[in-house]
């Protein structure tokens, strides 16, 4: 993890945005490191797009600041845009231009676009560039948006709900492209509410709800914390009291040679206790699903 400000892909410090009395975003502080996909998760209206629009200098924060690659998002916004690729949510393009025209337009405004790379991206996504954008389906329009974000080989990709409208095959290809991008040293700020996508591509996630950051962790540590279902098989019939006092164990059901339980935390304590007393034949655990975690954070009754 780098602390060199110029190397940090995206940093927000106490970023806050109020619309009148509405607090759209409250004191958001995050770093996106070089070489990582940062997943930004939250339900609709949580403040994901507000964050991105502040970072893109479309709107100005009430307080706090944001910087990209060490440059201030407001003061140096034009220079910043040479180094980023941006895909807005609910993408709107110019309906009268073809995909090719659209990319040419942005390439002219941006500079440094190699057309051979555009051709490669077009092929990978199966995009149709000869049709007018207004005549394309939303998925095919989204492909044009993805290409324009990637085409100048930016250091940081900022993607707001990028998979909208893309079919599963194209989503898979797009996710591969994001991983390749970070493997080459780039970074991705990926705003999404598609959990499976974040689970697949993100290294770390920030979870936002009602403008507040609820959690900021790596995907693997989130998973390790997650509640999981464990099924145990023993050589002999067991007594349910063996689980008493083991931290993290809940909802124990014992049936003769079998035990079913929910478990949250490291397996270490549980395994030691069992191995001391019984002959453990088999352990089955279901993989922790991020969905469970997110649903926990999204539920209204969780205190902010």
């Amino acid at each position: 993890m780098t602390h060199d400000p110029a190397a940090i892909a995206l940093r927000t410090e106490g970023l806050t945005k109020h619309y009148g009395d509405v607090q759209a975003l409250v004191d958001l502080t995050i770093d996106v490191q070089p070489g990582e996909v940062f997943g930004f998760l939250g339900p609709n209206g949580a403040g994901k797009t507000t964050t991105i629009r502040c970072v893109m200098d479309e709107i100005r924060p009430t307080s706090g600041r944001a910087s990209i690659l060490g440059m201030d998002c407001h003061a140096q916004s034009v220079e910043i845009r040479r180094h980023i690729g941006y895909l807005p949510s609910d993408l709107a393009l110019y309906p009268n231009l073809t995909g090719k025209d659209t990319l040419t337009y942005f390439a002219n405004l941006r500079g440094g676009v190699e057309w051979s790379y555009v051709d490669e991206l077009t092929e990978r996504l199966g995009a149709q560039l000869d049709k007018k954008v207004g005549d394309l389906s939303s998925g095919n329009r989204q492909k044009v948006g993805v290409i324009q974000a990637f085409m100048n080989r930016p250091q940081l990709l900022i993607m707001d709900e990028p998979s909208n409208g893309l079919d599963p095959l194209v989503q898979r290809e797009f996710q591969t492209m994001m991983r390749e991008h970070v493997t080459d040293g780039g970074s991705v700020f990926l705003s999404s509410h598609t959990l499976s996508e974040v689970q697949r591509v993100a290294d770390r996630v920030g979870i936002i709800r009602d403008g507040h950051l609820m959690a900021l962790e790596s995907v693997s540590s989130l998973r390790s914390k997650a509640m999981r279902r464990v099924q145990l098989e023993f050589g002999t019939a067991i007594d349910g009291s063996v689980f008493d006092g083991v931290p993290g164990v809940r909802d124990v059901v014992v049936e003769d040679h079998h035990a079913y339980l929910s478990y949250d935390g490291k397996m270490d304590a549980l395994l030691k206790r069992l191995a001391d007393q019984y002959d453990v034949v088999d352990i089955t655990t279901e993989e922790a699903d991020l969905e469970e975690i997110f649903l926990t954070y999204y539920r209204e009754d969780v205190a902010l």
């Binding site: 629009r53 941006y86 709107a92 009268n96 231009l97 073809t98 025209d101 324009q148």
Partner: protein, 550 residues
């Protein structure tokens, strides 16, 4: 209130209609107050030919002049414009927005939707006519002006019926094509040409009957204000309206609906054809998107082309030979004109080609043509990018907000200059063909001043665009301001009032540039005003939060 397609359409539109109609009522009161205080004897000696040209009934008095000045010209254009906007939005508008699918996803037939939209149009036209009628009755009472023998109700009925016809024309065109551009463009074109033709054709011996071909003929030719309702004319307008409505029903039921689809332009066809593909590709595929300015220009090229052609051919070239056709008439009344009267039309002598061009081409149509283009570019190009949500992806490129404003401004200025040039070329050609011997330098001066006044209101639109991002505001505030300023200016000229110098139009024709040549001081004032407004647009746009949707 959103219970039906009908009530939703009325609800969507009533604000705009109310503002437009109330403004007309206020203008009427204002005009009447000013006419009351001036010596009207100047009108009594005017020859009929001139009165027809200026749209003034023969036995003019205060009330008649006010009704004609406000309702017959501005009123006809404003109410017709509102009707056309509603008509083209009915079916084609829902298709452009992509909402027709979800609307027809409900158990409503196409015919029923169309009927509801048409009914809403009819209702709002009727209500507008009633408001105008009330304003027409109340204003003279407030001011103590006599309206004896005047049938305001009849006058307003004709006005409403003619406007409804234009609205249904737009509805029918939209129902057949699904294209708002065609629906509103063609209807507005028919309205403007009809407006001009009905003023001019009766002056040309042998051509008078041709005026009957134009809808506007049935608005005022029977002089309903003095003679009451001409039921034959009303029946004709109503019959044509019904016919257009039936056509619309047939049209909307027989074709495939569009779903937020885009039209195929000439360039698209050229790109598709193998022979022309290469050249067209260079034009459309690279030149068009080479910069923000070029792209903005290409988006509004259709509008620019139509307006420029209209100004060149109809208001420029054709006016020369037409002047010769009515020359004999006009020559008779060269001496009769009191100076105050001439001031109203920019101080030209009506028997001279300059005075004639001033009334027909430069007085009202040229500023309108210029403003249509400058305000459209300023509002749609800047606030439009926010309304269409394309501003986000545009500003994801390394261009500053200031550069976006600058590039859009350049497009607006170039467009204004093109219309100004087209007008100059047309009027010069008209003068040359007709052998009128007008000074080309003076024509150029007048066109320059016209361009500057068009840019002034365009700059106001640009500023509002930049400061608010709301397209409606950026269109209607400058249009309203221009309308009020134009009427007030005419009144001030007539009145010889000193406050006229505070109105921008004073610096357009106030110096009579067509006769006297360039008034550099006036040009400088207009230019400085324009530059100031544009300069304010930069910080206004740079400082604020951009909207996520219009």
């Amino acid at each position: 209130m959103l219970a039906t397609v009908f009530s939703k359409t009325v609800l969507d539109r009533w604000r705009g209609v109310t503002i437009g109609v109330m403004a007309l009522g206020a203008l009427l009161l204002m005009a009447m107050a000013i006419y009351r205080d001036i010596d009207l004897s100047i009108y009594t000696n005017l020859p009929e030919a001139f009165l027809s040209l200026a749209g003034i009934p023969p036995d003019a008095d205060i009330a008649a002049l006010s009704y004609n000045a406000v309702y017959n010209s501005y009123g006809a254009l404003v109410l017709g414009g509102i009707a056309i906007a509603m008509g083209s939005a009915s079916i084609a508008g829902e298709e452009r927005k992509g909402t027709i699918g979800i609307l027809l996803g409900n158990p409503r037939s196409r015919t029923r939707v169309l009927v509801a939209k048409a009914m809403a149009l009819v209702l709002l036209m009727v209500l507008s006519a009633i408001v105008l009628w009330v304003a027409g009755v109340v204003s003279p009472q407030i001011l103590g002006v006599s309206v004896e023998g005047m049938q305001i109700g009849a006058f307003v009925l004709h006005l409403g019926a003619a406007s409804l016809l234009y609205g249904l024309l737009a509805l029918a065109l939209g129902a057949w094509t699904g294209k708002t551009g065609i629906a509103s463009g063609v209807s507005a074109g028919v309205m403007v040409v009809s407006f001009v033709a009905v003023g001019i054709l009766p002056l040309i011996s042998g051509w008078a009957d041709l005026a009957r071909l134009f809808p506007s003929y049935y608005l005022g030719s029977s002089d309903p204000l003095l003679n009451g309702v001409h039921w034959g004319h009303i029946a004709l307008l109503a019959g044509a309206s019904v016919a257009l409505f039936v056509l619309a029903v047939v049209g909307v039921n027989r074709r495939d609906l569009r779903s937020r689809s885009v039209g195929t332009s000439l360039v698209d066809r050229l790109r598709a054809a193998p022979v022309t593909a290469k050249a067209a590709e260079r034009l459309a595929g690279s030149a068009r998107v080479s910069s923000i300015t070029a792209k903005t220009a290409s988006e509004h090229q259709g509008l620019l082309l139509v307006v420029s052609m209209l100004m060149f051919w109809l208001m420029g070239v054709l006016m020369g030979p037409i002047f010769n056709a009515i020359d004999e008439y006009a020559a008779d009344f060269g001496d009769v004109f009191p100076e105050e009267m001439l001031a109203l039309f920019g101080g030209g002598d009506i028997s001279s080609p300059e005075g004639y061009y001033q009334i027909e081409t430069f007085g009202m149509v040229t500023p309108i043509a210029l403003m249509v283009v400058t305000i459209a570019v300023a509002a749609k190009a800047l606030a439009g990018e926010e309304a269409n949500r394309t501003i986000g992806v545009l500003l994801a490129n390394p261009v500053s907000r200031s550069r976006v404003v600058a590039d859009k401004t350049i497009t607006m200025v170039v467009f204004g200059a093109v219309v100004g040039l087209a007008t100059f070329a047309g009027v010069s050609a008209g003068s040359w063909i007709g052998g009128l011997g007008m000074s080309y330098a003076n024509i150029a001066a007048t066109c320059t001043l016209a361009t500057l006044i068009g840019l002034l209101f365009g700059a106001l639109s640009l500023l509002l665009s930049a400061a608010t991002g709301v397209v409606r505001l950026a269109i209607f505030v400058p249009v309203g301001a221009a309308l009020v300023a134009h009427v007030l200016n005419a009144m001030a000229e007539l009145n010889g009032a000193d406050w006229g110098r505070w109105l921008p139009f004073h610096y357009y024709l106030g110096s009579d540039p067509l006769n006297n040549g360039m008034a550099w001081g006036d040009a400088a004032i207009l230019a400085v005003g324009t530059i100031l407004l544009i300069a304010l647009a930069f910080p206004a746009f740079a400082r604020r939060d951009l909207r996520q949707s219009g």
